[in-house]
Symmetry: C2
Amino acid sequence: MKTDLRIIKTNNTLYDALINLLKEKTFEEIKVSDICQKALVNRSTFYAHFNDKYELFMSLINSLKESLQTELKSIEETNLKDYYLKMIEVFLNHIEGKEQIYKSILINNRSSIIMDMIYDTITEDINQKVTKNDKDVPNEIFTAYYLGAIVNTGIEWFKNDKKYSKDQMIEYLDRLMV
Amino acid sequence: MKTDLRIIKTNNTLYDALINLLKEKTFEEIKVSDICQKALVNRSTFYAHFNDKYELFMSLINSLKESLQTELKSIEETNLKDYYLKMIEVFLNHIEGKEQIYKSILINNRSSIIMDMIYDTITEDINQKVTKNDKDVPNEIFTAYYLGAIVNTGIEWFKNDKKYSKDQMIEYLDRLMV
DNA sequence: AAGATAAACAACAAAATGTTGGATATTTAT
DNA sequence: ATAAATATCCAACATTTTGTTGTTTATCTT
């Protein structure tokens, strides 16, 4: 049994409304009524779908997470170094592909949830595929270090209007990772 | 003209109340009335000091920022590598010193604002002191990379109940930075 | 085309936010 | 130690935002 078109439709317009509002104000400043007004959806309908704005937001974040997860699946390398190099590419492609959404969230809001989401998602993927590192350091530390470096660099690149090309960035990150 | 003791007093109890509430719930879930109730401060008094709970929160974050700034001043190294090694120490000491506050914020809440604050503060300090890096990569990229790595590793260490000693962590980070 | 159901609408209750004026308590400065 | 200054308390109120509900209308599914 497939989902009613009307449901998909209102969900999407609610997502869109939220994304656009995020360009104007902080998430905290956005009221449920703002979202509904922009989405041309009745407030009672909103509550039929989500308990509050956080649920809507998390649902949005979750759809991003699912995309990222799928994209990470393409990485087959289990060797640490190779995995990271591939991952950098997948990651930069990912945020570039969802540019509008990421931009709207990163403009007025602190990188927060998004970074956590990305970080967690990649960590899970790494833990499944890569088992040990060559340096003499515990795995969690190792992962925290390199993921922190790569994700943060990617986000900064993105926030600064992608001053360098994606290929250039991959090049830079490769060089730094040596 | 020094500040009225009463003001300092209520401000402090409001901070304390917020910090303790953060151990129990998300910042979003905390209401102004909750804070006042816990602080034994009248709600109208709260509004005499802060426009909303965000202002209180940001004021708290800001006091953390000021400490960190002061502590970073002790670093005199302008050579990049040396700066980072010193900075790691200052940084880990900083979060360990304010353990209770950082813990309360990091338990139920996403690392977000805190990480941004730390990241921004150290970046400013770096930009004042260190001018160029040896690798063939733009400065912002370089900084984003290493700071992302170090700060993230530090936060993860802290969130996981400091499984390793601080000296051990400094050792690990030194090794990874080579 | 008929039945099912989502969305709109309107009305309401409750929670939380802000604001205000006057009484009370504490602090500062003399 | 006391007077003047002012921060806090208190209580009441207006406003905003959140949630909920029952009915009608529109849209989708089969």
